[in-house]
Symmetry: D2
Subunit: 303 residues, 4 copies
Amino acid sequence: MNTPVTPEQQAEIDNLRQSPRQTLRVISEGMERHLYTAHPVLDHGFVRVVDYMGDDAAICQAARVSYGRGTKSVQNDEGLIRYLMRHWHSTPFEMCEVKFHVKLPVFVARQWIRHRTANVNEYSARYSILDREFYIPAPEHLAAQSQKNNQGRDEVLQGEEAARVLELLREDAMRSYDHYEAMLSQDGQQGLARELARMNLPANIYTQWYWKVDLHNLLHFLRLRADAHAQFEIRAYADALCGIVADWVPAAFAAFRDYRMDSVSLSAQAVAVLKRRLAGETVTQEQSGMSAREWREFEEIWG
Amino acid sequence: MNTPVTPEQQAEIDNLRQSPRQTLRVISEGMERHLYTAHPVLDHGFVRVVDYMGDDAAICQAARVSYGRGTKSVQNDEGLIRYLMRHWHSTPFEMCEVKFHVKLPVFVARQWIRHRTANVNEYSARYSILDREFYIPAPEHLAAQSQKNNQGRDEVLQGEEAARVLELLREDAMRSYDHYEAMLSQDGQQGLARELARMNLPANIYTQWYWKVDLHNLLHFLRLRADAHAQFEIRAYADALCGIVADWVPAAFAAFRDYRMDSVSLSAQAVAVLKRRLAGETVTQEQSGMSAREWREFEEIWG
Amino acid sequence: MNTPVTPEQQAEIDNLRQSPRQTLRVISEGMERHLYTAHPVLDHGFVRVVDYMGDDAAICQAARVSYGRGTKSVQNDEGLIRYLMRHWHSTPFEMCEVKFHVKLPVFVARQWIRHRTANVNEYSARYSILDREFYIPAPEHLAAQSQKNNQGRDEVLQGEEAARVLELLREDAMRSYDHYEAMLSQDGQQGLARELARMNLPANIYTQWYWKVDLHNLLHFLRLRADAHAQFEIRAYADALCGIVADWVPAAFAAFRDYRMDSVSLSAQAVAVLKRRLAGETVTQEQSGMSAREWREFEEIWG
Amino acid sequence: MNTPVTPEQQAEIDNLRQSPRQTLRVISEGMERHLYTAHPVLDHGFVRVVDYMGDDAAICQAARVSYGRGTKSVQNDEGLIRYLMRHWHSTPFEMCEVKFHVKLPVFVARQWIRHRTANVNEYSARYSILDREFYIPAPEHLAAQSQKNNQGRDEVLQGEEAARVLELLREDAMRSYDHYEAMLSQDGQQGLARELARMNLPANIYTQWYWKVDLHNLLHFLRLRADAHAQFEIRAYADALCGIVADWVPAAFAAFRDYRMDSVSLSAQAVAVLKRRLAGETVTQEQSGMSAREWREFEEIWG
């Protein structure tokens, strides 16, 4: 069972949720409901919104460099947001900002941190001692190596092999942590420095960080990490974030879905093939100017 | 007189200031007072806070990667903030964010934009027509070229020379704008494209933008632009921002003042000279390992 | 006639071009030919390559994190580059870098600088005196304001209107510069500070800068600025850069052309419409889920 | 013994070192000597220069936005570089760029990657299988946890405790890798996906990446990571990089040493205390306006 937050933490969060205060700032009602709520991800992880700035209207306000909230209707705002998204205007979306607290396995953190245009404060294992919490995949996510795609997954492992893998992961995690504690211990010995002892811990241990990012860069992150080609574990976080963003800035998220997530990018060659097909022609890979791999990717969508 | 905001804009701002709403987010009381208030700068410019995220406690919360606001006292928070500033920890300060609406002359905007780690939406002179508003220096800021420092100012111009300069600046501004309007006009002619007509406008015309930045990068901006070596006109904006930041995050701003603005950076050579002086020795430039210029800069502080 | 480089500058450039030196670094033969050559742009501008790092093979070398240049064939490298471009892998393209010296009108510089992920050193008008060089559009680029698109151009101005515009632009430029010189003059007067006098200069005056950028961010710049919707004047620079990049990294540039410049991005709605059309159905705007504007943009490509 | 490069890799590197080519670009003789040479760091790591752009003169050339290399003497260049460094001008230093190939333990990579203004391509453990190489500290670096500083080290562990730690680190590394291989194996079983199996590997396993950075950001990295407060293991890399940079841009590195590495930053309070001391006064902590901790840090330098 996933209980990522301790009772003490929950009490503190509940307390904060019961103390609304007055502000002159822009409010997103959808986002207020998420504040301080830890959304569970994987077996011990979570994402929770710590703070946010802006809403759909703030995107338009910035695009128009206007005073106040502008006098335009919600419908006009939606049209403008769709226009901005369609034509790759990025700066108005940068005018919204969000700060998350995330608990995640180290190997997920290592992928995540590659998105550089964000602010991060990570729990320091030089300074503090990490908790005994490791990600162990659920049986249905214990996938075999893909034979076709070097960085892909195939079917789920079955039977004895699956059991053996789970046992190895669990045992190695526990033993590594036992030895981590043994090396740190100052009971009858000096105790190894924390910054050294942590090197024994495997990449499925959980870490935590504050991650602050603007909406434009968050959507770029989601485009890559909520994608079918992303590793399942980071996708689980991206999916949780998608749900939050959809409540925060519904118009921007809908435009993002239509023009990014569910959009298709056609190469010059693919445009030419589609035009010939629309004219009734049959086009083969040889005639398409595409490589075999591109053609396969093209056919997956267009048949 | 400086009346940067029109009556309609003021009415809208007043309206917003009278509609506080409830939020679960962190509030900075000092900053709430600034929201939507246009602080005049130069003859037609202003800065006003559109939105903000975080306060002093949020810096500590991120540094500790803590749940809730943490249980530490305000005094502990101050000590931590001073420690973080002294030891050049930048990421906790990145966890606060602020969005300004700024009206400023183009030549100031050109200096300002060199600070790249920020989000900007500028009023588009491709899309819209600029207003007839130009920066004309107050007589006491009409400075002569420095003879010692290529990029510095000397005494204030006097008498006829000052009058002549002001007249040239005013006349050229008005004539350029008249011609801008004449070229744009669609009265009895096609009218030149806006994106072309704007090229006739001088660098003292006012533009506007939304500027969003995190606290770390804002402080870096203030360190360079609220400095005595910065051009007076951008310093006027930096000074206005300093006043706002001091109300927003008082502990962080005090630490910034002590460890950045009012601090002195000593080179290896300067450290050696000071140590010898403290030991009672008299050290000359020749013995100091400093160039004549460095020595002059050193003596300005240490005599 | 465009003679952006003075005879003295040309002599220095010629001298540099005659002094090849030995290096162990990667060489791009196509780029060596461009080094130090000033390509004229607009009436007084230019772009010239000052230095570069990497070539097509360096992209693959980084993608493979390999020693040496790798043993793969040129054909394999091309396939890998196309794959990386198609799937939006950006980091290998960041491993190539280029440094340009550019002379350009200030209003173009103001658009250009919005691309933040680059390094810039601009000629300082605080420190130095600008030259008397202004961009005056060629008659065939003196376009009227578009009636349909606020930030677009329409037909070229004709006859008297065109003549009047050119005269205004020329006269205002010359008069502004005369007054700039008059204010700076220290002949019988103190002379206004350079940092102030420059405010009188219009946005078509030329400035210069060194601009250094990685290939990924350069291609992003070109995608937006070599586009039909970009203002003609910045597009002129982008087109010149395209020619240089095509010689520097031919495989990467070909992939960029196919997957970015000549590609088409289809929204979820557009994908659905095309699929129905391919199935023989006729779809109207009302049935498409697209706004009138989106539909118009869609029909421009697909009929 | 440290033999980070395989014989095949060495052969390829030797081959590249024997094939100089002609270029019109700027050459740094000091840097050419480093090209392709793998400098050993820790037990299995290395840094090697893959490519570079610019030299000391290129910094000045950009600062002056000049044609060619400029006609100034080397001495003038040094003075300008020292001036730029002293007054925190960062953009000219951004005009030099360098690309390294680095092999390093994952826990070092995690600290390193926090420096965001750089380009990185890391060896992918989703795509490929990692080698059996782990960092095991040399006995003289097996330090105890500091009692005074949460993120610091104390004396070196001795005797049995040291032996036990080394044994635990070695055994856990080997066992984790055995199990990694066992889970990946497709011998009589499906084989776990690489992207999952890697989660079992501890943070002292070696990874590799290409790291490209401009000189300004590299010096900022070195200032923080070649510092006495940095963890020994990343400092070992920073020290190796310092040696390379000193050969590449000797004037810039000397200025960096004097004005950054060996400089001292005095707070407003510290300036006041030193001035009083210079005037012959004795100042206590109570009178200094500093906290006990600041005072301790102050006395470490000034007695």
